[in-house]
């Protein structure tokens, strides 16, 4: 850590000023545009941010105002966050793929006066709901394409606002506002994805953010030389910590991809050294690798499978510093030269020093695949209310079934019901305008309930998460019901995208499955199975056979666990549509909303507990622009083989 970090820094603008001085000509932001990586040094970024902040002053932003930001990851929008703080306002990043209603809810809830929008799509979204939002005074857009003809009375381009700021902005006033910031002033407000209810605005102070950045950077020895790829939603706390807080704290470079679709090739070009991805991203990459290997020549395929086998046996041990025989080492070296390193290069993961996955449980096979490539992929467990970090895995203690030890500065407690509580410097200030929820979540001593049930392994001291507390239930016979546990096991199959298990208060468990179109579509192509739509493919008898087999295998593995043996799935069906956040079936962070699904597909749930083997259903779907449509389907219900529950439980 450099010396200047030891003097107390109290706000993000201060960190920026420090970087502009200390790392002046070092690259701070990169973005691929027009086929080239454009870059900005810390000094340049600081100037851009200053100009924008002065621009906000000319708009009449007063301290304490809320300013929303919506758009894809671009340096300009990250700058906006810091600029907003400079003028004493609170940045509120929103999910760029949220539909107009969701955006309206957040904008109304926080009473935002200004919005910084990425492009026409986002501007349109706000314009659509503008009538019900009297609080929005002005919209600033970054990419002006298609916006030329819009009425510009309440609309300004980002560049124009900066120009105005440079020309007319009151620099003395800006300095005064910046100096007024302290550790307790609000740094950011982030809306939780809201698995169960309307989103809540989580208020994080400078203290939360800066302490967290400091602790987490020290934990993984992050330096100013890291490169990260900023591709996860800006509204998500993780991105805020990685791309804003840790980047500013360490002075490392944030790289923004050209578009969401080019993420993979941009990842390869940048080769980040510090990488974060939810399991879904790793899964997609692995699926693609496997599909492409199936298409490769025989020799290549053989070589790949042989050496991946070697890597899988030896790689994780090498990574954890265990003893490995010289012959195995030699074999592994060969595997690295011929398969592992080229593959890592293709994946854009060659330079990864520290990689994290979180958000959902990751399948052991998936996890081990990346570990065997020698990628230091670790798990962490956190939430917005904790400014991300609750627990994380230290180097050399990585396992797929735990989430690690408490992060620096975090205290853990498990209460009698099994719920995990934590207390840390990152604990959020409050839910915005919601003292009741705040009091329900955080007690007066600062302990926060996670809502997750878990336990600490005695041997290793690692935390293991079982399920959401409210989802853990009892079945009719009193046995423990942990849907997430079963769903995760199902989702570990590459061709299962999502699973929703029902069974609370019932005699037995049933499930909805979602096929993964990429994996199943490829399989269909390979086996000459023709289909014209997702819906048709999902109901193909052979697909159902395959799913039945997966369910049977999962049942067999669950049956071995005495506590959860009753969670075996008796009947299941494959849904005719993908569960989607636009239809409210999932959160924007891709977590299933159990309650919504059970209600919406009530007819299907009833059928699962009935005796019929087929059901006709109609479902309403929402398109991204808010229009609605209907799809109907005839769904087949299958029974899966169930194993006898282990003697002990049955005897009770």
């Amino acid at each position: 850590m450099t010396k200047s970090q030891s003097t107390q820094v109290v706000s993000l603008p201060q960190l920026l000023a420090r970087n502009a001085k200390q790392f002046r000509d070092k690259t701070a932001y990169r973005e691929k545009e027009f086929g080239i990586w454009q870059s900005w040094t810390w000094a340049e970024a600081a100037e851009e941010i200053e100009a924008l902040a002065l621009g906000f002053l000319t708009l009449g932003a007063t301290p304490g105002d809320y300013i929303a930001i919506i758009g894809r990851n671009r340096p300009a929008l990250y700058w906006a966050i810091v600029a907003i703080e400079k003028v004493g306002c609170v940045p509120v990043p929103l999910y760029q793929d949220a539909v107009a209603d969701e955006v309206a809810y957040a904008l109304k809830h926080c009473g935002a006066r200004f919005v910084v929008a990425g492009d026409q799509e986002q501007v349109d979204k706000i314009m659509d709901v503008r009538d019900e939002l009297s609080n929005i005074e002005h919209i600033v857009y970054h990419d002006g394409r298609g916006l030329r003809k819009y009425d510009h009375t309440d609309l300004t381009s980002y560049a124009d606002l900066q120009a105005k700021g440079r020309a007319e902005g009151d620099a003395a006033e800006l300095k005064r506002r910046e100096d007024a910031l302290d550790l307790d002033s609000t740094c950011v407000m982030l809306y939780t994805s809201g698995t169960t209810s309307k989103p809540k605005g989580v208020v994080l102070s400078n203290r939360n953010v800066i302490e967290t950045a400091k602790n987490s950077s020290a934990f993984d020895n992050l330096t100013e030389n890291e490169d990260i790829l900023a591709y996860l939603p800006m509204a998500w706390v993780g991105d805020f910590i990685f791309s804003i807080a840790q980047s500013l704290w360490n002075g490392f470079c944030v790289n923004c991809p050209e578009s969401a679709e080019t993420m993979q090739s941009d990842l390869r070009e940048i080769g980040p050294s510090y990488f974060f991805a939810p399991p879904a991203v790793f899964e997609r990459q692995l699926t693609q690798v496997m599909i492409r290997m199936e298409d490769a020549g025989k020799l290549k395929r053989k070589m790949f499978h042989h050496f991946m086998g070697v890597a899988q046996r030896v790689g994780p041990k090498v990574l954890d510093g265990e003893k490995v025989s010289p012959l195995a080492r030699l074999n592994y070296a060969l595997a690295r030269i011929l398969v592992v390193e080229p593959l890592k290069d293709t994946l854009g993961m060659r330079r990864i020093r520290v990689g994290y996955t979180a958000g959902e449980a990751i399948g052991p096979e998936l996890f081990n695949f990346y570990r065997s490539l020698g990628i230091n992929l670790k798990q962490l467990y956190g939430q917005t209310e904790a400014t991300v970090y609750i627990t994380q895995q230290p180097n050399g203690e990585v396992r797929s079934d735990t989430v690690g030890v408490p992060s620096p500065g975090v205290e853990l407690r498990i209460d009698d019901s099994g719920e995990v509580f934590y207390r840390s410097p990152g604990v959020f200030v409050e839910y915005f305008n919601n003292p009741k929820s705040t009091a329900d979540t955080k007690d007066k001593d600062g302990w926060v309930a996670t809502g997750d049930a878990g336990f600490i392994e005695e041997k290793s001291g690692h935390l293991r998460i079982i399920d959401r507390v409210k989802d853990v239930g009892k079945m009719a016979n009193g046995a423990l019901f942990a849907p997430k546990y079963v769903e995760n096991k199902l989702k570990f199959y590459p061709d299962v995208l999502e699973a929703v298990v029902f069974g609370a208060g019932e005699e037995n468990c049933t499930a909805f499955l979602n096929i993964d179109l990429t994996a199943v579509g490829n399989w269909a192509e390979r086996n000459n199975i023709a289909y014209s739509s997702y819906q048709e493919l999902s109901q193909h008898p052979q697909v159902l056979d395959m799913m039945e087999q997966h369910v049977a295998e999962v049942n067999a593995s669950i049956a071995e666990d005495e506590m959860l043996a009753s969670c075996q799935i008796h009947r299941f069906l494959v849904l005719h549509k993908e569960l989607d956040a636009d239809d409210g079936e999932m959160t924007r962070t891709k977590k299933v909303r159990r309650g919504v699904i059970a209600e919406k597909f009530n007819d299907l749930v009833t059928a699962l507990y009935g005796t019929e083997n087929s059901i006709y259903t109609e479902t309403e779907v929402t398109y991204e622009d808010g229009r609605k449509g209907k799809i109907s389907a005839q769904l087949e219900i299958r029974s899966a083989s169930v194993n006898p529950i282990a003697q002990k439980v049955a005897a009770e």
């Binding site: 027009f34 080239i36 030329r148 003809k149 050209e258 578009s259 080019t262 090739s265």
Partner: protein
């Protein structure tokens, strides 16, 4: 039949300027077959002009006359206020006319980027030798042209397939690449031959948006042939309707929609 004579303002506030292309009494024959019979209409600066009609009405022939590929036996083509002599295709391109094809005509083995770069050929002046040595003018030109092409790629949102060989792309994207190549030539007049044929609803929506954006952003005059009536009526400022080589309607979408001849040709004559 109404014919707009002066410059006019569209509903969304664009100004449509002078006549760019004026077709006067065009007749085109293939042997004994009259594909186009004595047709006159014009295209104005900045407008989106559609040519519609049932199969075999002579739409594509008409587009080929405009592009200079066919020379009509009778009638005159006036371009930018002057009668146009029969031209070779490259001369047409140099006049600022670019087109896409009904059956995609791309270089399947080349990447999207290389395909779009071919649209810039007319803007490259350096000789073969300097291209080979790759110094001075050739290098400068390539960089300048690449920049233009990158703007087009950005505009049409095809960054993710920049380096993909065209042969591997689905149909809808190939159509978009073709549009990109035509746009790279920075045309004054863009001819689109059934830009939406064979597309699904979503692809059609995307393509419509791009056509409107091109017209709006670059002020490009667009003449398009299209089967999909819904698309035509939404997109175009003025529509020419052809049937059996004859012009049976000409005017704004609303005028054309209420024209009895057009209704008969499209929907068939009611027998009630």
């Amino acid at each position: 039949m109404t014919q707009v004579l002066e410059s006019y303002q569209t509903e969304d506030g664009r100004t449509i300027g002078d006549v760019v292309l004026d077709l006067k009494n065009i007749t085109l024959r293939f042997g004994g077959v009259e594909a186009i019979k004595n047709i006159s209409f014009n295209i104005r600066q900045g407008e989106i002009r559609a040519i519609i009609g049932p199969n075999g009405a002579g739409k594509s022939s008409m587009l080929n006359v405009i592009s200079g590929f066919y020379t009509p036996q009778e009638g005159e083509v006036w371009f930018n206020g002057k009668p146009r002599a029969p031209l070779r295709p490259y001369q047409v391109a140099r006049q600022g006319i670019a087109r896409t094809f009904q059956n995609i005509a791309l270089f399947e083995g080349m990447s999207v980027l290389d395909n779009v770069m071919t649209g810039r050929l007319n803007h490259m002046k350096s000789g073969m030798l300097s291209q080979a040595i790759w110094k001075g003018k050739a290098e400068r030109e390539e960089i300048e042209n690449r920049e233009r092409v990158e703007h087009v790629i950005d505009f049409l949102e095809i960054q993710s397939i920049r380096k993909t060989p065209v042969g591997r792309l689905p149909y809808g994207l190939k159509k978009r690449v073709e549009l990109a190549r035509a746009l790279a030539a920075e045309p004054n007049l863009l001819l689109l031959d059934e830009p939406m044929a064979g597309m699904n609803v979503e692809e059609k929506e995307d393509m419509s948006r791009f056509i409107l954006d091109v017209n709006d952003e670059f002020g490009t005059t667009i003449a398009l042939i299209e089967h999909d009536m819904g698309v035509v009526m939404d997109l175009s400022d003025r529509v020419v309707v052809m049937d059996y080589g004859r012009k049976i309607g000409d005017g704004t979408p609303d005028e054309v929609r209420s024209n009895q001849d057009v209704i008969d040709a499209y929907l068939g004559v009611s027998n009630d």
